[in-house]
């Protein structure tokens, strides 16, 4: 479960469905759904996240950003950034790779920075 959950909403929805109420209720019975004490009841809960809608523009640059950046976060994180410039985008890539171990090949850095700055340059 914890591995599958990492890969985005499609996997998330499947995982949430697989772990959903029916199977658990069958195993443990209805009593497993809540605990109470001192006038407060807490009830077991599930969450199913919505599908992502934002995406990068079609083309090689958009594909490069999608493939390198969206394993950990959705596209809005990049689309909503202010104008950063090449140095700051490179620093972001270094942080994602250095701190969060994002699977970004160093040989892709130059093309990725160009794609990110190009994405911002094309904004209205």
């Amino acid at each position: 479960m914890s591995g599958a959950r990492r890969f985005g909403p499609a996997a998330l929805a499947i995982a949430a469905f697989a772990l959903g109420g029916a199977a658990l209720a069958a195993q443990r019975g209805p009593a497993a759904k809540s605990v109470s004490g001192g006038g407060i009841t807490l009830s077991s809960t599930t969450l199913s996240l919505p599908e992502e809608k934002a995406a990068f523009p079609a083309g090689a640059a958009g594909e490069l950003i999608t493939n390198n950046c969206t394993a950990c976060h959705s596209a809005e994180m990049i689309l909503n950034q202010p104008l950063l410039g090449a140095d700051k985008w490179k620093a972001e890539i270094d942080k994602m790779r250095g701190t969060y171990h994002a699977q970004i090949a160093p040989e892709d850095d130059a093309a990725l920075v160009a794609a990110l700055t190009g994405l911002q340059a094309a904004r209205p």
Partner: protein, 407 residues
Amino acid sequence: MADGPTLIERRRALSLIAAGGAGLVTSPLWAQGLVDLHLPGGPSKRPMTTAFPGKGPMILQRSRAPLLETPMAAMDGHVFTPNDRFFVRWHYSDIPLEVDVHNFRLNILGAVKRPVALSLAELLTMPRFEIAAINQCSGNSRGLFEPRVPGAQWGNGAIGNAKWSGVRLKDVLDRAGVSANAVQVRFSGLDTPPPDAPLFAKSLDLAHAMDGEVMIAFQMNGAQLPMLNGFPLRLVVPGWYSTYWVKALDRIELLDTPDTGYWMEKAYRIPDTPRASVAPDAKGFPTVPINRMGPRSFITNLADGARVAANAPLKLRGLAMGGAAGVARVDLSTDGGQTWLAATTGPDQGKYGFRAWDAVVPALPPGDQKLAVRCTSDSGEAQGFEPIWNPGGFMRNSIETITVRAA
């Protein structure tokens, strides 16, 4: 770590690219389901979403990991932010999607006399208290920084106030028995990092953790926490930024040396300077972990750009906070701070919560008019017009000014 889901995910994302494209847009923002956060230099527009379970209309900042901002209008008229409009912020995409209240355990370990794993049923038998407290993201209003800085590009809505119910952290730590050599307490939750990335964990000094105000909350505003806000347990650290309010809290570790983890040592640090502000080109300044909040105030009944009647008194209302102290006073200015008019403050529901205010400003002449609101805290700290800048985009609490068009 199979490749399959990644490839499926990529194909799905690529098909979205193919189907996407901005299209020609001529209808007004609200008709497109967009909101304009007025971020300098943009991009400033965000979609509104109702797609997240348990949440009403929210500003969609990021769908994965979720970042959902509360529209200022949703805070208008209440001191307590409704749970279904309360902002959402997760760091990692692997967030808890299912919690079984019978199986869940809160683990207290490390420098303790006897490690314990408390069930929710046990926690519900312990002495309780309630506290009104504002939960504000360290980076709330980051999108208003000039020059702009990278990160979540929030407007002013990564903030909310709730009445929290729970148990004292001190009482829970006493169940385990704090060892004499403990110096800090580290908190983490059910969210898990990508492979090899640092676990999201935050620490408080032991004296702070034991002060009797820090809470392990199981209710907000009289209901169990929404999953997106940290069900079943969340740390409440009154007066401090929400980075410490660990969600889905399941692990409390007593440390015998200060926490040197990434989230304390590298992230969420502020300049050790007045108002945490430095010049944008400053280098090499000392930093400290972000901590207490300062005073802030907002007009909630009018948005920037609103049209109002000229030559007639104008009713304003909103919310104010003192930060780590209560609200002493709230003042309004229509002349850029040359003169100030005292607002009337509503009932005090606890020094760590919002205080409602209202005021009637004298008739405005026709044209664009600037309305500024300033809070002064019980500790004598007043908001100022000077902008705050630091590279993390943290701690903004300068005076907020909106422009209305009087006609």
